[in-house]
Amino acid sequence: GPKVLQIPSHQIIDMGQMVTLNCDPVSNHLYFYWYKQILGQQMEFLVNFYNGKVMEKSKLFKDQFSVERPDGSYFTLKIQPTALEDSAVYFCASSLDNSGNTLYFGEGSRLIVV
C-alpha cells in the first residue's frame, strides 16, 4: 500500500537544541499532518498543512514548533528550542483530502530530549 517515510526513525538530543523531523508523504496526497504519541498512548493532533499553509494547529503546537514543505520536498516539523516534554514519537500522516479519507501514517520518529 501507499507508504509514508519518516526520517530519522529516532534521535536523542540535548534540551535546547534544534531538531528537524522529515516526512516523505504519499506522492499524490495533498494534506499533511503531524501527530504526537507518548508511551504508545493517545495520538494527539499537532498540525495539518495544505497548499503550503497551516490549516489548523492544536494547543500542543507551541511557538517553538514550525512546519514547512519547501517546493514539494520533505514535509518537516522543526522544534527550536527543544524541551524535555517534547520527548515523544512524532507521526507524520498524509491524505488525499480531509473529508474523511484514510490517513496514511509513517512509522514515526522517536525523539528523546535529555
Binding site: Y33, Y35, Q42, M43, N48, F91, T102, L103, E107
Partner: protein, 112 residues
C-alpha cells in the same frame, strides 16, 4: 477536553474468542469513524471505518456497530488471533473537519 473516549484501556482474550472494543464521542456532528490498528514500533493503519448513515459495517472478522443516538460505537473482533494483538484507536471527524480526533486507545492481547 477528550472528545473521543475508548474502553477498556486494555483487554485480554483467549484465541478464538470475540473481543469487544468500545468507543464513545461527544460531538454529534462527527460523521466518519475510522478504526486504526497499531503494532509496536509502527504507525497506525486503517483497519475498518463507518459513516454515520450506517449502523453496521463488516469486513471479515471485524465488525463495527454504531449507535448514533447514544453516540457510541463498538468494534467486534470475532475468532481473535494472536496476530490481532495490537493497540486499536477509534477516530472521528466531522464533515467540515480538518483533522481526525483519536480516542485513548485499547491495547488488545490475544492469548494462544
Amino acid at each position: 477536553q477528550q472528545q473521543v473516549r475508548q474502553s477498556p484501556q486494555s483487554l485480554t482474550v483467549w484465541e478464538g474468542e470475540t473481543a469487544i472494543l468500545n468507543c464513545s464521542y461527544e460531538d454529534s456532528t462527527f460523521n466518519y469513524f475510522p478504526w486504526y490498528q497499531q503494532f509496536p514500533g509502527e504507525g497506525p493503519a486503517l483497519l475498518i471505518s463507518i459513516r454515520s448513515v450506517s449502523d453496521k459495517k463488516e469486513d471479515g472478522r471485524f465488525t463495527i456497530f454504531f449507535n448514533k443516538r447514544e453516540k457510541k460505537l463498538s468494534l467486534h473482533i470475532t475468532d481473535s488471533q494472536p496476530g490481532d494483538s495490537a493497540t486499536y484507536f477509534c477516530a472521528a471527524i466531522t464533515n467540515s473537519g480538518t483533522y481526525q480526533r483519536f480516542g485513548t486507545g485499547t491495547k488488545l492481547q490475544v492469548v494462544p
